[in-house]
Amino acid sequence: MRVKEEQSLTGNIYNFVRKIVLWIIFKTPLKRLRNWGISYSLWPVHLTTACCGCEFGASSAPRFDAERTGYLPFVGPRQTNLIVIEGSLSKKMANAVRLTYEQMPNPKYVIALGACAIDLGIFYDSYNLVRVDEVVPVDVYVPGCPPRPEAIIRSVVMLQRKIRRGG
């Protein structure tokens, strides 16, 4: 951090304090602590876009129990920080996904689940689908149709690693 000397001595205290606070949050071990905290409290919004949602449900159910990784599907977009796009995304739904994404607080992450979400999969020439990439930025891609619940948990673990490495 480079705070100019005259700035710290003369005037603009507000700017100075802001810079100091930003430095403490983002450039010191506090940032690591913050990332560590975020990585174990991923709350995906309950936005089951298509049929991969069955496996999304199964991954939260007792056999796989994704909650062990600190990941709990939750209802409102304001309280969540992860979107899991389960499968195909229709044009009608793309609007809703974008709206949900914009309502979520920062930092926010996206997992694209299944072939349909990544490149439309078996519906590659469909007239009513869009790729997830065109709607929201994606952090982790999971292939499969549908992906197994293990793969879903793996994607969550990978996302946690990415966040801890510095998002």
Partner: protein, 397 residues
């Protein structure tokens, strides 16, 4: 304070209430309701949020490529979607699969019916706030999914049936594993589920005499599946127009008389029991023999034929890539987990179908939302939705 309240009541207006599209339950779907107090005066389902255009895409695919495509309509219920299409295709090609293949198909369909109903229970449970009854059925699906995975090699999307037979024979030691899983699920269903959910006074208070569908209404609206049978109509495609190995198997049609939400759940419970009975019969009376029509058996390469005789995995013959069924029009109907599934296929003798019409049970049940929820209280909506066992991707296709 009092006056203002009463004043408000005098000028009371109906409020428009939007539910969804962000995940009201299994998959997304929007409802537009008008509420007066806490009573829905009008309720309009608005589907189409998972529309992928399967009917149109099918016109652009080879016949064999449509098998995985129609499964994606309801991957919970893939085997039943699969068998509906394959039966239609076999009618066009005029071939009949060997008896062992018929039994194997029936076996997978019934396993799939159980897993699908258990999924429905889980969703119904979480919708009325009983998270235990979300966890239990979802956990108890898993042994059966494992069984299906042993046969087909996939968890949900099996693509198991091909024209003329099935792709794989049973693996070794399958029967013991399957019987164990059946015993487990039977014990859980008959004891634990009833104790914690179906006999629970809370459940009964939420479900009984809510969302009553009378017999005449059910017929008038063309409802299908367990929802129809809960209104005392004994219509089951497996009995009316038996396909696969159903003519040789013994089972009863599950039905209830009341037509309310509770009856709809009980019909599903009884159907699971009948499915278990069917699977037991199949495991006992599985005929020996080939799993694929002899016309196709000769068409695979020698190496594949060796593998087939050794491990029971039948490779697809190369002719399937250029399959051209003769021109014609066929209709097939099968009983999927959520009701009657219809395929209406027009062939012109080309590489691809001219038109494939797929009428899924959920789409025919969609009208229930309007009929049952109009007039109900707001908090009856989750109970009714859960009891209908509606699956949006299946409805929208």
């Amino acid at each position: 304070m009092k006056t203002s309240l009463s004043k408000q009541q005098d000028n009371r207006k109906e409020i428009e209430l939007f539910i969804g599209p962000q995940h009201p339950a299994s998959g997304h779907m929007r409802f537009i309701g008008r509420v007066d107090g806490d009573i829905f005066t009008n309720f309009i389902p608005d589907p189409g949020w998972v529309h992928r255009g399967i009917e149109k895409i099918a016109e652009n695919r080879k016949w064999i490529q449509i098998i995985p495509l129609v499964e994606r309509a309801a991957i919970l219920d893939a085997a039943n979607m699969n068998i509906g299409y394959v039966i239609a295709l076999e009618k066009l090609l005029d071939i009949e699969p060997p008896p062992r293949a018929q039994y194997l198909r029936t076996l997978l369909c019934e396993i799939n019916r159980i897993t699908s109903h258990l999924y429905g229970f889980g969703i119904a449970g979480i919708m009325i706030g009983s998270s235990t009854f979300y966890m239990w059925p979802f956990a108890d699906r898993e042994p059966l999914i494992d069984i299906a995975q042993l046969i087909t090699g996939a968890r949900l999307t099996y693509s198991y049936m091909i024209p003329g037979g099935v792709r794989r024979d049973l693996p070794q030691g399958f029967k013991e594993k399957a019987l164990k899983a059946l015993k487990y699920i039977e014990r859980r269903l008959n004891n634990d589920y009833f104790r914690i959910f179906f006999d629970n006074p809370v459940t009964k208070a939420r479900y009984q005499e809510v969302g009553v569908l009378k017999r005449d209404d059910a017929i008038r609206l063309g409802i299908v599946g367990p929802n129809l049978r809960a209104s005392n109509v004994k219509y089951d495609v497996r009995k009316v127009e038996p396909y696969a190995a159903y003519p040789e198997l013994e089972f009863d049609i599950a039905y209830e008389k009341e037509g309310d939400c509770y009856a709809r759940l009980l019909v599903r419970v009884e159907e699971i029991r009948q499915s278990i009975k069917i699977i037991r019969q199949i495991l006992d009376a599985l005929p020996q023999g080939p799993i694929i029509h002899k016309k196709y058996e000769k068409l695979v390469s020698l190496r594949k034929l060796e593998e087939y005789q050794k491990t029971g995995i039948f490779g697809l013959p190369a002719i399937f890539t250029v399959l051209r069924p003769p021109a014609g029009e066929v209709i097939s109907r099968v009983e999927a987990a959520r009701g009657e599934l219809i395929f209406h296929i027009i062939s012109t003798g080309e590489l691809r179908p001219y038109r494939l019409r797929m009428v899924t049970p959920s789409f025919r049940n969609i009208v229930l939302f309007r009929e049952l929820i109009s007039g109900a209280r707001v908090m009856d909506f989750p109970a009714i939705y859960g009891s209908i066992d509606y699956f949006p991707p299946e409805s929208d296709r």
